[in-house]
Symmetry: C3
Subunit: 370 residues, 3 copies
């Protein structure tokens, strides 16, 4: 079973080239869009985009990562986006650009065949009469929208989505199937939220009573998302206790990310899969948190803008200097690990023994030198 | 865009002060509810609750955490809940209590404006005729309830929830949108379960056959939740293989927590976000597992009551003594980390070299002393 | 409240013994199914299966794990599956087999009382006219199936499931409530996918533009699942950027597992709860990744077939030799941890001091020996 490479069929063309979508793109058209230097020529029209290793004639591909260079000379693609240094090894037409990966990112949307939610509002929906829907809203089946929600123009809401009372959803935002948005949440324009993500559930606020039972604290804040935010599937972004949880413009969040109450994530930061932020964590702008990072401390905690945190790192203290940080340990065979991990539990003792050795040796040396 | 502070509008008033909700509360009323000493007086009625830094006139606020003390002298709030030691720095009316955070937790519910599920049963639901619904049940759209389920009085079930056959849901419990409860699960009274949480999916039981394929083990147990349990969004609590998975009264579970089959979580324990329990883990009562904790061993594993486990800790062996435990590593700049983490993979060698040094030095010393 | 042990009521009997399900099984029947040596006899019919500790008369149980051996002599079960070495301590009828746990896995399905999705197609569904449904498909309420989806024979789809355009779902596969399958995803035969799992959401592909904003890369690949795959609740398996994300036959995935775009998981591998794979990770066949494992590197990364990774391990480099690997640290009391973890951040310094000591001592020894 071989998947055909992806064809440009359905999507609105961001470059007003819609008439050419089905006919395919000429190499010259693609070169112009990318402002690329074309090396070689072909009359073959480009209908699809694929990776170097799996591309076929009629496909566009790209070489952006040294890991895949070995596939260049054997590629079956008709056109390859690449950097100047790789052009001599290209067996076919090349589009030479300064940043091949960026060029690929840009051109990839020409070939996106992702289906839209069907036009209009499905008959099965449950929309409160007080909710307001702007023009060109698309709403799939089994969607519920509660009182006073305000849905902007061109919003797409897929099946099974629940939108609570008093929410606002900005223009052009897309909510995939089964997303849940609690009451009072504000979502900006042109956001994308993938399936089964939950925005605005109660923050985790409980304190022990004198009898050991846990008393809940009402979570009265909400969640405010800016614009141009992408959120993956299965995420949870909790509402604030009093003030709001805030995600600024352009933030990109991968799948299964958890953001606790009263966090603030600065503009254009990236949070990779399975990362979790405890309550009241403040992430600056343009940060990258790789996968599986955990940020939580005994009090509020902040990470400076332009900070990168490596995968699986535990951040328990604020980071005030931008830079790249990492925690965690490396894997080894399990026998070595058992010994090393056990030693780690007494690392202080080892260091004390080294200190003692240093003192003993120095004393002995002094003694001998007398 | 500024969010107004939260107003007390909709919620049932736990102190029978409903007539005063819209009119606002007098400071004297709040002092009485909290059994607080009032310092100063105002005729301004309290309509909202907000944090020290964002409160406005007409708001109540609290000072419970030293991190926020800097905001006290500039607060615009009309009333501040605080401890005796902070009263002199308070620029406005103070309510002095022994435990300001507890007092705030208690009073916060007066101002909760969270909408309820609409009264009655939505016309779109699919409820099996054999299911039994007690009085005053509220059921939103697109809910399915299978055969022989028993839904207690005052239960609220939001849109898109699925309840399997033979489940019981106790009085006053609330299930938020798109929660899935598998067949035979028992949920006690006054529980709160947030969106997209799944209770009772199959435990992960597979064993390799001689040909390397994996054979499933039927998961015939169920899940039993006690009463007064709160569960966050996106959690998974698996059914037992033979015996049930058990969550006792008053347990509080944050978002994206995973509880494997046949676990038992003792009363009034807290599991913070992204924590995962492997199969057959037994957590005692009054435990706290911070965020991102993983508990899994080669056999069943238990944690003593009143144990606290710090964030991102891997617990691979039972803990029999109550106390506070921690694992994981601290972050550093990535260059230091690379060197240190590499050394960790040979920590045993380092220790052996220290031991050798100790022996050599001791031998040399003895030799010299002869 | 005591749960009755599980009764064999509803399920199709894999051994064509359906007539005996309600009547119960004789020990001789069970011995024959398991190819076991029967020690002792009873006329009591076996109606249920339970653990050693909670079994009652009329139940079958098993002893497979040394942790539970203490319960053997007190068991109330009528029949115990066990190994030859334990037969002398068995107070009741024994079925002696070579591999008790495998025998229990096999026989457990006789007693599975899990309800099926109701026959037929619920009236509330939204199925596109171009979708194709094979015979004996069961579809619950509030399910949406988009254009050109192909649903195989005997497929069960529970309430609230969303299936995107152009998906194919193979024969006998079961999707539990609120599963989301994006467009173009291919799922093989006899798979089981638990609630709120999302398959085919966009991979996490963003690159920074020169102004620091993040540009998305269209995710044009899809997800291909083989046959006989089990996936737990709350998982996310992302679609590929160009090529597909691939899960091969017989893979078993626990709850809350995340699989990034363009990963490939080899046949018959197991991924335990809360494990996350970054993009372009390739896991071989017959691997076991325990809970909370994170696999992510700076480039594509692969793990050799027949590799086992221990819980909470961070794998940042490829593993080329099959074996058992582990990372992470062990927990200790928090005071010791604070000291040790701080020392870890300067482990290289400690090692350098040991090296220096070795040199000093060697020099001094040489000096003295002159």
């Amino acid at each position: 079973m071989k998947t055909p490479s992806k064809r440009a069929i359905l999507n609105p063309n961001p470059n007003n080239l819609s008439s050419t979508r089905e006919a395919g793109f000429s190499v010259e058209q693609l070169a112009k869009i990318l402002n690329a230097t074309q090396v070689g020529h072909t009359d073959v029209k480009i209908h699809g985009i694929a990776s170097l290793g799996s591309a076929r004639p009629g496909d566009l591909t790209h070489l952006s990562n040294v890991y895949y260079r070995k596939h260049l000379k054997h590629t079956k693609a008709t056109v390859v986006i690449l950097a100047r240094k790789d052009v001599d090894d290209c067996p076919t037409v090349a589009l030479v650009v300064g940043e091949p990966y960026q060029a690929y990112a840009q051109i990839s949307h020409l070939f996106d065949d992702q289906p839209q939610v069907a036009e209009g509002i499905h008959a099965s929906v449950d929309i409160h009469p007080s909710a307001s829907l702007a023009e060109n809203v698309r709403i799939g089946p089994f969607v519920s929208i509660a009182e006073n929600a305000v849905i902007g123009a061109d919003v797409s809401i897929d099946s099974g989505v629940h939108i609570g009372a008093n929410c606002t959803i900005g223009k052009g935002t897309r909510l995939y199937a089964n997303v849940c948005v609690y009451h009072g949440v504000q979502i900006g324009q042109f956001c994308v939220i993938h399936s089964n993500t939950v925005i605005g559930a109660d923050g985790f606020g409980f304190i022990p009573k004198s009898n050991g039972e846990l008393q809940s604290i009402a979570q009265l804040g909400s969640v405010k998302l800016g614009s141009h935010i992408d959120i993956g599937a299965g995420c949870t972004i909790d509402r604030g206790a009093l003030d709001d949880t805030i995600i600024e413009d352009g933030v990109k969040i991968d799948d299964q990310v958890h953001i606790g109450h009263n966090c603030k994530v600065g503009a254009h930061s990236m949070l990779c899969g399975c990362t979790g932020l405890g309550g009241s964590v403040e992430i600056g702008a343009h940060c990258i948190l790789a996968g599986g990072v955990g940020v939580a401390g005994s009090g509020p905690l902040s990470i400076a803008s332009k900070t990168t945190i490596g995968a699986m790192t535990f951040v328990s203290q604020s980071i005030t200097e931008p830079g790249t940080y990492q925690g965690a340990t490396l894997h080894t065979d399990i026998r070595s690990w058992r010994r090393n991990a056990k030693r780690f539990t007494r690392l202080e003792d080892v260091v004390q023994r080294v200190l003692k050795l240093e003192k003993q040796l120095a004393a002995k040396v002094r003694e001998l030198e007398k």
